[in-house]
């Protein structure tokens, strides 16, 4: 499949793609048909394997407990640090996978929008998005294979234990992966072929299937990792009950599913945004510039839409971890990882600021934006202020020695939960003001024609002010006048307020700007170059943040492979410091960057031709 991808990729990305694509599609279809046959065989073989396993299980009647390991059970291979290898490879695989799974989600939506509005530009953009992701697809697969190898190589017992529990899901995972490849190639290479009327519907259906398969893939992989955090379907010794669904549907499965699903979309948007930004910077003419500006704008829009609900998904995840095990929750939010959330705050602040900055720069596309530019500095001040509140470590222990004096470095006792209301307030305010930036952007090219415009605006101001006042009141009240240890739940009314403001104001605005006039045509491409750097920053910050959060997710398991069931006895069982983790993440991020550049470069190479004079005989 990978080879096909390369060959097909080389042919399809050229200017004469029109002639070649049908040909490629025919070959592919033939292959898919063949593969389908093989597929059938695989399924049968798989069923046989499954039956064999079943028989075996029936014979033994019981599953084995989780093995108790010693350091000698972890092979050393050529002096390589196994944990480091698995860590970096898993992270790289995750980055590519997140990207490759996220892009089809919004491509599907954009394609549907295009079909509805019959605006061909949407269809072209959707196609270009998927083109960016398809080049990354084979790398995802290669890295996945590498991850599998390194797990088996460095953690053979863990892998064996997990595979006795997840044998079925691993099988389905492999099968789904083939299905994903087939549908993806069909969806991509069939894009120009399946156009118009019924065919377009077939194509859209393929997009839906692609997403269904891709999301299922992610859910399966999430089950493995959440099982390691909150094992289910096993007894305290780790003996599997045989109920796969219980193991999959463990306590933290859905919280992680939700957070990842949303985060992946934001991440995918940000990477595509960086691609568009680069294309914009190197565009050769005005038309190209306009095109990539538009693409960058849409990518940023997608990223912001997914960014806004993320903090809530994050707190929900944290609350569920806390509910699963108070020990784990305190380790997450109150132990040595407390400082990680300060780094996280810096990163998220960077995300919000760069996304906003890009929107503000983008207002220059409209001649009507002048009416709003004067407000931007206030938004900027509020955003920076909220960011600082979020970032301030009020009750954190400051130094190593202070930490020791509080009772030793093992799970020390910090109290950032105590300041959660302040942080929640800041996050909600940040979200509301980011939304405000977006609202201004939307309005910048429009002139309302309804007679009650003024009243409408007063209503908007009232809505925003009362919303903000309510959020502040709730934050101050819960933060300083209540006395619960666990205050994360207190944020729910704040979240509801934020949502009410956003939805209410969107509805109101859509009425105010009904039958509105445009100030003039939007000047796509009229945006300063520095705005593109905001898009790069968005992508880098997202990538890095993902790596960091991957560290904490595994880190809170501490010296357990599977919490409370299977201990990590390797020399690498210790939790590394934040600085060390940050360095690993940074190196991995640089590797990722290099790979992405390589992928894009390959795509570029395939479209350049050298015509050596007199080399070939005439």
């Amino acid at each position: 499949m990978i080879i096909i991808d390369k060959i097909a990729g080389i042919y399809s990305l050229k200017s004469n793609r029109n002639k070649l694509v049908p040909w490629v599609v025919i070959v592919l279809l033939a292959l898919v048909l063949l593969a389908n046959d093989a597929h059938q065989n695989t399924i049968e073989a798989a069923q046989q394997v499954a039956e064999a396993i079943e028989d075996q299980a029936a014979a033994a009647r019981t599953h084995v407990p989780a093995p108790k390991l010693t350091a000698a059970d972890y092979p050393t291979v050529a002096g390589v640090n196994g944990r480091l290898v698995v860590w970096v490879v898993a992270q790289l695989h995750l980055w590519f996978a997140a990207f490759v799974l996220a892009v089809p989600i919004f491509v599907f939506i954009i394609e549907a929008i295009g079909m509805r509005t019959r605006d061909k530009r949407y269809d072209d953009m959707a196609y270009e998005f998927i083109k960016v992701s398809i080049t990354a697809y084979s790398l995802t697969a290669i890295l996945g294979g590498l991850l599998l190898f390194s797990l088996i190589l460095f953690y053979p017992h863990l892998f064996t234990y997990l595979s006795t529990i997840f044998s079925e899901t691993m099988l389905y995972y492999a099968l789904l992966f083939f299905a994903e490849s087939a549908v993806l190639y069909l969806y991509y290479y069939g894009w120009n072929w399946l156009q118009g009327g019924f065919r377009k519907w077939v194509h859209l259906t393929l997009g839906l299937m692609l997403n269904a398969v891709g999301t299922t893939l992610m859910l399966l992989a999430n089950a493995w990792l959440t099982f390691m955090m909150s094992p289910a379907g096993v007894d305290p010794a780790g003996v599997f009950s045989g109920d796969s669904w219980a193991a999959i549907h463990n306590f933290l499965w859905n919280p992680i599913n939700i957070h990842r699903f949303v985060a992946n979309i934001a991440y995918g948007g940000s990477i595509v945004g960086a691609y568009a930004a680069f294309k914009f910077l190197t565009a050769r003419n005005q038309q190209e510039k306009a095109h990539y500006d538009w693409m960058g704008y849409n990518a940023n829009f997608i990223a912001i839409c997914a960014l806004l609900p993320l903090p809530f998904a994050g707190y929900y995840l944290a609350a569920e971890i806390y509910a699963y095990s108070q020990q784990m929750g305190i380790t997450l939010m109150g132990g040595i990882f407390a400082w990680l959330f300060i780094i996280q705050a810096v990163l998220i602040g960077t995300l919000f600021l760069s996304a906003n900055y890009y929107l503000w720069c983008g207002m220059g596309r409209s001649d009507g934006a002048k009416r709003y530019t004067k407000y931007i500095k206030y938004i900027a001040i509020v955003l920076v202020g909220s960011f600082l509140v979020w970032f301030t470590p009020h009750t954190l222990v400051l130094t190593n020695s202070e930490l020791k004096s509080l009772g030793g470095p093992h799970h020390s006792i910090l109290g950032p939960l105590g300041i959660m209301p302040a942080k929640n307030t800041a996050v909600n305010i940040m979200i509301i003001f980011t939304f405000l930036s977006f609202l201004f952007y939307r309005r910048s090219n429009k002139i309302a024609t309804v007679s009650w415009e003024k009243t409408g605006n007063i209503c908007q101001v009232a809505l925003f002010s009362s919303g903000i006042a309510n959020i502040l009141f709730l934050g101050i009240y819960h933060g300083y006048f209540t006395n619960t240890v666990y205050k994360v739940a207190a944020s729910i009314p704040q979240v509801v307020t934020t949502l009410v403001v956003i939805v209410g104001s969107l509805v109101l605005d859509s009425f105010i700007y009904r039958k509105s006039r445009d100030v003039g045509p939007l000047h796509w491409g009229r945006i300063p170059e520095r705005a593109q750097y905001a898009l790069f920053l968005l992508a880098v910050a997202f990538t890095w943040l993902m790596g960091l959060m991957g560290y904490i997710r595994s880190g809170i398991r501490q010296h357990w492979h599977v919490v409370d069931i299977m201990r990590d006895a390797s020399a690498q069982a210790f939790t590394p410091t934040l600085g060390y983790a940050a360095n690993v993440v940074s190196v991995a991020a640089l590797l990722f960057l290099a790979m992405v550049i390589f992928v894009f470069w390959i795509a570029q190479v395939s479209s350049s031709k050298t015509l050596p004079a007199g080399y070939w005989k005439e």
């Binding site: 305290p236 680069f278 910077l281 190197t282 509910a323 095990s325 108070q326 020990q327 305190i330 380790t331 109150g334 132990g335 040595i336 400082w339 300060i342 780094i343 810096v346 130094t399 190593n400 509080l406 009772g407 030793g408 470095p409 093992h410 799970h411 020390s412 006792i413 109290g415 105590g418 240890v485 666990y486 739940a489 750097y533 790069f536 920053l537 880098v540 910050a541 890095w544 501490q558 010296h559 357990w560 919490v563 409370d564 201990r567 069982a573 210790f574 939790t575 590394p576 410091t577 934040l578 600085g579 983790a581 940050a582 360095n583 993440v585 940074s586 991020a589 640089l590 960057l593 550049i597």
Partner: protein
């Protein structure tokens, strides 16, 4: 090409800033290494050492301090002397304990038997405790460890210690790097002690021997018992004149049994 380089440089710098902030912008806290299994000879332990073991377990392996601290996540345990009786008298109490010791054990191994008002899991109306069972799961105390923690809790609250050191030799898990320590019998003869810890490799005591450390033949005349205890357990606290620090082994405290330490101190103070 220049644009390309600028963009790459921009991204590399951004990553560098994030990494730099994580390394230098915040304090680097070294997480404790995972606990290591070690055999301890309970038979030759003093009650003080046993209580000290309990304290280490409380702070380390037991992760008790994660919740039982000054932040109000769990009831303060130094007030348990009065609290325990209150719990037992509480009309809500349905457990099986009849005295403080039993109450403490019950609190550790079946935390939900009685949940202190206001501390239950959210939404369970104080019927379910968020505290993990200390005898299984991630804490998995052995019987000996559990009893050690009870001894510590009693001592810490100013109560009389009612538990006894179990006499059977069970492995005890502790945060200690020392792996090869096989249990040994405690020495009762001063000669055996001096020989075993090899003091004469560096010191002259009764007959001419090593000279890496000061002569100890009349040490009892110069130094009092407290000083000597410190000199043995924390040798770098004060350095004898004319000698270097870091020479006298500083791990004696981890190897010598309390009973042996007292015999040694009796002996040294008598050298006049």
């Amino acid at each position: 090409m220049r644009k390309f380089v600028t963009v790459i440089a921009f991204m590399v710098v951004a990553i560098g800033l994030f990494a730099g902030y994580s390394n230098f912008g915040i304090p680097q806290i070294e997480p404790a290494p995972p606990p290591i299994e070690e055999k301890i000879d309970l038979g030759s332990m003093t009650m003080d050492q046993y209580v000290a073991l309990g304290e280490r377990l409380f702070n380390g392996k037991g992760t008790c301090k994660l919740c039982h601290n000054s932040l109000g996540r769990a009831p303060a345990l130094d007030a348990i002397s009065t609290n325990a009786q209150e719990r037992l008298d509480d009309p809500r109490y349905e457990g099986e304990a009849t005295n403080t010791e039993e109450y403490l054990i019950e609190s550790l191994v079946s935390p939900s038997a009685f949940v202190v008002a206001g501390f239950g899991k959210k939404g369970t109306n104080d019927t379910e405790s968020p505290m993990p069972d200390a005898s299984s799961g991630s804490i998995s105390f052995s019987q000996a460890e559990l009893t050690a923690v009870i001894a510590y809790l009693q001592d810490n609250a100013g109560l009389e210690i009612t538990v006894e050191i179990p006499s059977d030799l069970e492995p005890v898990i502790e945060d200690d790097e020392d792996e090869d320590a096989e249990p040994r019998e405690a020495f009762t003869e001063i000669r055996d002690i001096v020989e075993n810890f090899d003091c004469e490799a560096c010191h002259t005591i009764t007959e001419e021997a090593g000279d890496a450390g000061p002569k100890l033949s009349t040490i009892g005349a110069k130094r009092d018992r407290d000083y000597l205890r410190r000199a043995l357990l924390n040798p770098n606290a004060d350095i004898a004149e004319g000698f270097e620090e870091d020479l006298m082994p500083d791990d004696l405290g981890q190897q010598i049994y309390a009973s042996e330490l007292e015999i040694l101190l009796d002996y040294l103070t008598a050298l006049k």
